[in-house]
Amino acid sequence: MLTALVFVPAAVALPLFALPRRTPASVVRWVWVVVCAFELALVVTLWAGYETTGGLQYEQRARWIPGAGVGYHVGVDGLSLPLLALTCLLFLACALYSLRETRRVRELAALFLFLETTCLGLFAALDLILFFVFFDLSIVAMYFVIAGWGHRQAGRAALKFFLYTFTGSLALLLGFIGLYLAAAPHTFDMVELTERNPLAGRAAYGAVVLLAIGVGLAVKTPTVPFHTWLPPAHVEAPAAGSAILAGVLLKMGTYGFLRIAMPMLPGSWRRWALALVVVGVLSVLHGALVALAQTDLKRMVAYTSVNHMGYVVVAVGAAAATAGTSAQARSLAVTGAVTQMVSHGLLTGALFLLCGVLYERGRTYDMASYSGVAAVAPVFAALTGVAAFASLGLPGFSGFVAEFQIFTGSLGPRPVATSLAVLGILLTAGLFLRALRQVLMGPLRLPDGPGTPRAFPDIRAHEALAVVPLLGMAVVLGVAPRFLLDVVEPASRTVLELLAR
């Protein structure tokens, strides 16, 4: 069932190319939407059948390349299930959002379906090489999405994205090989590596491997100082591409910390966690400060991603401190990290789609060109307002639940760092309020460059269908997060037990 979940989109993507050239684009669009909806239904079924305290479930193994210690091994637990669900939801939102897309729809649909397979496969993978394969393929697919459907400078931005994240992926690969060689007999299987803890008592080796894996994942997350690929990639990418990039692809980095780095390298992780906390705090503050200085709406949202992912890094770093804090607090930090990933995926996805809506009408992201949009497009304004407030961590939304857990869990072990990170919330609040005032309030003014339509129609049905469920989910998680936390909490306790070895 899990295998079906992972591979159905790619299996549909290939025959799309076999359709005759004259197939109307609407057929392709609806195939795309239906497949995504099917995937969402599948993941809901998975969730319904998931036992919250059962550890790894839906496991499937197959011999793949035994000579290289590589096997096909997938499964889900409390860390991956929320992310799988998030992925399916976001891809459905993007499919709905793209219902009006006219440029090379068939290729776009095929690429997105392929991308969905890589994202789902990565979160389900329990073999390092399988993980890596999907990690790399997601980069390739996203490269073509940015380069093929992006804005003016897309080629350069896409190249930068590809080179940065590909460097990261190779660092990751070297780290994986380091783990592989350390285990006897050699294996890439995550479950076995986690059990064996092959680098226990080999501090120097462990540090090097952790460095390689850490750098690889940090590029993807991205944390300061590896974040510079992110703003251009987001600004130039099409709206749906940005939503997936921020909503799903960034999570691969932090998910890797929780799934690979912490359980497989517990000793090194504990030793070097402080460095990670520092990097996390720097990302939080740097992301927020630079976002504050932006005049381009999409670029601003991109930098807030650096800021939000910084909280996750702070949390996973703080969870390693063993002395003087209760296990419950640290478990709270890890749970908060997972919740933050989901919450950020929903909210940033929604924000980027709304940015796309704005761009489609005004042909620019420059905030100074807009004013008083709320007067002509009240629904759009309301949705943007809700997304922005949720993103800055207002209670009642998922962001609050996540950040509250992160700060509560991290304050005990790392008080200074956590207090600094809280400043980030203040900054994001300021910048979102400023952006909302600029774009939505005041006298009506719309950009009128050549070729821009003067009218600013309100949000259309397909756009609302894409954005509203994301925001609705964020509210549900903010009000009644139990169903998510019940799944995540046992898994985060397991991670901490593994970390304490």
């Binding site: 190319f17 011999r63 793949w64 390349i65 035994p66 000579g67 290289a68 590589v70 090379r104 090489i129 890596f132 394969v133 790399d136 393929l137 390739v140 073509f144 380069a147 093929g148 080629g155 190249l159 590809f162 080179l163 590909f166 460097t167 190779l170 660092a171 690969l173 070297l174 090989i177 380091g178 592989y180 060689l181 090097v208």
Partner: protein, 474 residues
């Protein structure tokens, strides 16, 4: 070794190829021009039969034949299959271009002889046989580069020939010196003799040998011929040059490192590692701003030799070395042939920009190009990815972590120039599609097949990897 084990059936693939070459030469003298294709068909049949024979022989025991001069082991088996299958692809690519050519049969004979030379180099267990293989692989290839008798071809052939002649002298000198130092030419004897042979003598001989084989492989510092010969030669010849001799030479280097120089007082593996680093780096730097597709691929093959030398450097130091080398060789050969097949299928596209809009005109061919080029980068799930994974693993295992890191950095750098080719090919905004690309159906078929194999080897590489890893003998 009894010495009596001289069953020619042990060399069946080589014998088939040699027989077909000689027969082809005779046939070509009598056949009318319109029917010379029969020589090509004979060559194809010989290669196909050779692949079959080699596959059967691969299951046999590890042994040496002809007085210990030729090894029958996994290295030979894998090299045979790679070389013969590569020859099949090259012949397929050449067919349409050569139909009715005045020297059609000579071409096929030369291709077969070059392949035979590569086979001998790969299996040689004796320095003299290695020298013979070197010459046999080289001389027909010089002629093939200049086969079209045009300016660039002649220039390439001349460069190739002069450098080849120089390094041919070096390799012979090296062999003479090693003979003086060890008192024999058989690897088995030499390996023991070098334990207490004069270090300076062994080092001088090894340097000559290394230079000659690197010339064959197209690696730094003997790589200067590669860009000119590849650009000057016809595309199928370029595909041959960058695939077949490389396979033979790298297999030979692997044997030398694992057997002959394993116990010698000589920093052989460090030397190979440094050359690997230089090769991958210089090849990449050269490729960065090339505009001609063949020249770009030529530099890319130089950098690929660098990656291929990684497992060679750790021969005998890591258990992963052999499977890494053999798997990478197969993966590289098929992917590289796929890329050259795409070049053959687009005879009018000389520069990178000529490929603009390919995805709109020939989507499948564009997909092949993307898969092969990304494959050469090492993107999963193509075969080279698995090869690189093994090669990195072998290098780390053998204590060359710096080399693995450098290879990773180089891989990223190589992405840049492959993308310079991929981007125009898949972009839609090309000039309104001009005249059709030309190019034969056969070339396209070879491109599709090579791409499919490259993907297949990557996704289902398990059995292949097991096959090259299984028998314990080195």
């Amino acid at each position: 070794m009894t010495g009596a084990h001289e069953n020619p059936l042990g060399l069946l693939p080589e014998v088939l190829l040699a027989g077909s070459a000689v027969l082809g030469l005779l046939l070509g003298s009598w056949l009318p021009r319109a029917r010379q294709w029969a020589v090509g068909a004979l060559a194809l049949a010989a290669c196909a039969a050779g692949v079959a024979a080699a596959s059967v022989a691969a299951a046999g025991p590890v042994t040496t034949v002809f007085g210990g001069a030729f090894a029958l082991d996994p290295v030979t088996a894998a090299s045979r299959i790679v070389i013969l299958a590569g020859t099949l692809a090259v012949l397929g690519l050449s067919f349409p271009a050569l139909r009715g050519d005045a020297r059609e049969s000579e071409y096929y004979v030369l291709v077969q002889l070059a392949a035979l030379g590569a086979l001998m180099t790969a299996g040689a267990q004796d320095l003299l046989l290695l020298a013979a293989g070197y010459l046999l692989a080289g001389i027909p290839a010089y002629a093939l580069v200049g086969f079209r008798k045009d300016g660039p071809g002649t220039e390439g052939a001349l460069k190739y020939y002069v450098l080849g002649a120089l390094l041919g002298v070096l390799i012979l000198t090296g062999i003479v010196i090693l003979y003086a130092a060890g008192g024999a030419t058989s690897y088995r004897v030499l390996g023991e003799a070098f334990r207490d042979a004069p270090a300076a003598l062994v080092a001088a001989g090894a340097a000559g040998l290394l230079a000659g084989l690197l010339f064959k492989a197209g690696g730094v510092p003997a790589h200067f011929w590669v860009p000119d010969a590849v650009q000057g030669g016809a595309p199928p010849v370029a595909a041959l040059l960058t695939t077949l001799p490389k396979t033979g030479a790298l297999a030979a280097l692997f044997r030398l490192g694992g057997q002959v120089f394993a116990d010698a007082a000589l920093p052989w593996s460090a030397l190979v590692a440094v050359l690997a680093a230089a090769s991958m780096t210089l090849g990449n730097l050269g490729a960065f701003f090339q505009q001609d597709v063949k020249r770009l691929l030529a530099y890319s093959t130089i950098s690929q030799v660098g990656y291929l030398l990684m497992p060679v450097a750790v021969a005998g130091r890591s258990d992963l070395a052999r499977q890494a080398l053999l798997y990478y060789l197969a993966a590289y050969a098929v992917t590289n042939l796929g890329a050259f097949a795409v070049v053959c299928a687009l005879p009018r596209a000389r520069g990178l920009d000529d490929c603009r809009g390919l995805a709109g005109r020939r989507p499948l061919l564009a997909a092949c190009l993307v898969v092969c080029l990304l494959g050469l980068v090492g993107t999963p799930p193509t075969a080279v990815f698995l090869g690189k994974l093994e090669a990195f693993g072998a290098a780390l295992d053998g204590g060359y972590a710096w080399l693995a890191v450098l290879a990773a950095v180089n891989t990223v750098a190589s992405l840049f120039y492959y993308l310079r080719w991929i981007v125009p090919a898949v972009s839609s905004s090309g000039p309104a599609s001009r005249s059709p690309d030309g190019g034969s159906r056969t070339a396209r078929a070879v491109a599709y097949a090579a791409t499919a194999v490259s993907l297949g080897l990557g996704v289902a590489g398990g059995p292949v990897l097991d096959a090259v890893a299984s028998p314990a003998g080195r």
